[in-house]
Amino acid sequence: MIAKLIVKNIFRARLRSLLTLIGLVIAVLAFGLLRTVVDAWYAGSDMASANRLITRNAISLTFTLPTYYRERVRAIDGVTQVSLSSWFGGIYQDPKNFFPQFAVTLPTHFNLYPEFLMPPEQMDAMLKDRTGCLIGRTLADNYGWKIGDKIPLQGTIYPGTWEFTVRGIFDGKDDGTVTRQMYFHWDYLNERVKQGFPRAADRVGVFVVGIREGDRAAELSAAIDAEFKNSLAETLTETEKAFQLSFVAQTETIVAAIRLVSFVVIIIILAVVANTMAMTVRERVAEYATLKALGFAPGFVVALIFGESLTLTLLGGALGMVLSFPVIATFKSFVGSIFPVFRLSEATLWWQFGAVVVVGLLAAVLPAIRSARIRIVDGLRHVA
C-alpha cells in the first residue's frame, strides 16, 4: 500500500513532478559531465604505472639531459630498462590539429608500456623503417590513418618538414589507456638534429625509467638524482604519476572551479526538490492527519514523504545517468582533441547515484519533520 501511495502521489501534480524530473535529469547530466571533465583532466596520471619513473632536468622540463646518462641510470640496481623520450611538437596541416608526438627508444619504450597492445609484426616493420611511426587507435580513427600512410609534420621545436610512415597502430589495454599520440624513432630525430643543430644533438627531454619493484620508487628516484648531483645537468626523478600530476597542478584552479560548479549544480537541484516536497506536504497536511487519525503512526507518514522524495530523485537520477552515456559520447566528439580519454567512469556513475540519494533524503527531512509533528486536529482543519 505504501508503495502504491508513493507512486500514485508522485504523478498527482503531473506538471510539477515533470518539471522537477526534468530539472533532476539536467542536474545529474551536468554533474556527470563536469565530473567526467575532471576525470579526463587526470586521465594521464591515472594510467601512470608505479613501475615507471621519469627523470628530467632538475632546472625545468625545457632543459634537456645528455643521452649518456641513460647507461648510468640503467646501471643502478633495481632499474630494468630506460627509454629516451623527447617531445616533438610538430603541426599536422594546421595548429588546431593538435596531437602529442614523442621521439622514443624502440622497442624499449613499448616494453615499458605493456598497456599498448600491437601485433609484433608491426613492431618489426617499425624497427626496420627509420622514418616509421606508431600511432594510437584513437589518433588513427580521428584522421582515418592506416598502415602505410604518410604523415607530414611541420616541426616547431625541430624546424623543417618531417614525413613519417605509419608502421603500426596500437590499442589500449582498456578504455582508460590514452591512444591519441604518435611515437617515432629517437635516433631519427637525433640524426636530423645533428645535421641542422649539432649543439642540440645527443640530448633528450626525459628518461622513462622502468623499475623492478614499485615500492622502491622513492629510493630509486633518490639514487638516480644522487648519481648526477653536482653535475652540469642535475636531475629530478619522480614517479610517472607525480610527473603527470605536475602538469595538472598548473591548472588546479580550473579543476577546482569545475568541481565546485558540479557540487553547486547538486545544491541547486536539492533546493528545487526540497521546494517540490515542501509544496507537496503542505497540500496534503489533511491527508496525513487523516492517516494518523486512522491509526497510522507518524513514521508511516514520514516513510511516505521520504519514499516519494527518493522515488522522484531516483527516477530523475536514473534517466540522467542513462542519458549521460550518449551526451558524453557526443561531447567527446567535440572535445576529443583536448581530452585524450573522455569517458563516463563507474566512479562518476556512483557519484551521480549518491548525489540523487542524498538529494532525495535531504529534500524530505524538513517536510517529514513538519508532517510528523503536526497535531491531528490541526491537520484535519487544514485547507491546502
Binding site: 500500500m1 502504491k4 501511495l5 500514485k8 502521489n9 498527482r12 489533511a286 491527508e287 487523516t290 492517516l291 494518523k292 487519525a293 486512522l294 491509526g295 497510522f296 503512526a297 507518524p298 497535531r375 491531528i376 486536529v377 484535519l380
Partner: protein, 249 residues
C-alpha cells in the same frame, strides 16, 4: 422517531435501564494556550454514553462539540478530568498507544470525507485494514462486504473524484466500519451534502446503529440530522447543557 426532544427526567429513566456506558466522562476540561493565556474550550464536562447509543452533539460554533468529539476519539488530549472509553482511560495513553487504540476502536467519518484521492473506493476502505494482520483475501472479502453494505459494490474501482459527495461519504462510512470499531465518530457528516444525500447518509448511520448495534457519536448543526439520533446533548460555551431523548427508545 420523535420530532420533539424529551425531558431530562425521561433520559434519567432511560439511563437506569441502559447498559454500562461505553464512554464515561468525568469533570473533563480542555483549554488551549494562546501566548501566555489559557483559553478554555470545555469546562467540567461529565457525561455517560451507553453502548449502542446514537448520540448527537449539538451547539453553536465554538461551543466545544468538535473538541469533545476529538477527545473521545483520541485525536486530542484533555487538559484535565477523566475520559474512559470501553473501560480504558485514554487520557493516559501515549501517542503511539493512542494510534493503535484508534486503529482498533474508532471509526472516523469527516465532514469532507477525507478520502485519499489517489486511491480507489476499494483501496480507501481497505486502508485501515493495512494495520491488521488480515490476509489479502480476508481484506478483500471485508471490503467488498462493507462497500455492499453502503450500496457501492459497483463503485469499488472508482476514484473519489469520480463519485458524488454522497457516494464519497458512504465510502468514508464503509472505511469507518471496516475494522468493526467500538465507536464511530462523525463530525458534521452531512455538512457538505445536499438534502437527498444527507438523508441517505443519515439513514445509513441509523441502520448501522439499529441493525448492527454500532455506537455512534455525531457532531452536527443540522436539526434534521439530530432526528436520526437516539439522544442529543447540547453544548454551549464549553459547558454541557443537558441530554435529551430524540427518538422513541
Amino acid at each position: 422517531m420523535s420530532d420533539t426532544p424529551r425531558s431530562d427526567a425521561a433520559v434519567a429513566g432511560d439511563a437506569a435501564l441502559s447498559p454500562p456506558p461505553i464512554v464515561r466522562i468525568r469533570n473533563l476540561s480542555k483549554h488551549y494556550v494562546r501566548g501566555d493565556q489559557a483559553v478554555p474550550v470545555l469546562t467540567d464536562i461529565t457525561l455517560d454514553i451507553p453502548e449502542g447509543d446514537f448520540l448527537a452533539l449539538m451547539g453553536p460554533s465554538g461551543s466545544g462539540k468538535s473538541t469533545l468529539l476529538n477527545l473521545i476519539a483520541g485525536i486530542d488530549k484533555p487538559s484535565g478530568g477523566e475520559l474512559t472509553v470501553g473501560g480504558l482511560n485514554i487520557a493516559q495513553l501515549s501517542e503511539a498507544e493512542l494510534a493503535d487504540w484508534r486503529a482498533a476502536n474508532i471509526g472516523f467519518i469527516f465532514q469532507f470525507y477525507n478520502l485519499m484521492p489517489v486511491l480507489t473506493a476499494f483501496e480507501n476502505v481497505e486502508l485501515p485494514l493495512m494495520l491488521t494482520d488480515l490476509s489479502r483475501s480476508d481484506r478483500r472479502e471485508r471490503v467488498e462486504l462493507a462497500l455492499s453494505l453502503v450500496g457501492l459494490a459497483d463503485r469499488m474501482k472508482h476514484y473519489p473524484n469520480e463519485l458524488s459527495g454522497g457516494q464519497q461519504q458512504r465510502v468514508a462510512i464503509a472505511r469507518a466500519i471496516i475494522t468493526d470499531p467500538t465507536l464511530i465518530v462523525a463530525d458534521e457528516p452531512t455538512g457538505d451534502l445536499d438534502k437527498k444525500s444527507a438523508a441517505d447518509v443519515l439513514a445509513l448511520l441509523q441502520q448501522l446503529n439499529r441493525e448492527m448495534g454500532k455506537t455512534i457519536i455525531m457532531v452536527t448543526h443540522d436539526p434534521g440530522a439530530v432526528r436520526a439520533a437516539r439522544h442529543v446533548t447540547h453544548l454551549e460555551k464549553g459547558e454541557l447543557l443537558g441530554t435529551e431523548v430524540v427518538s422513541g427508545e
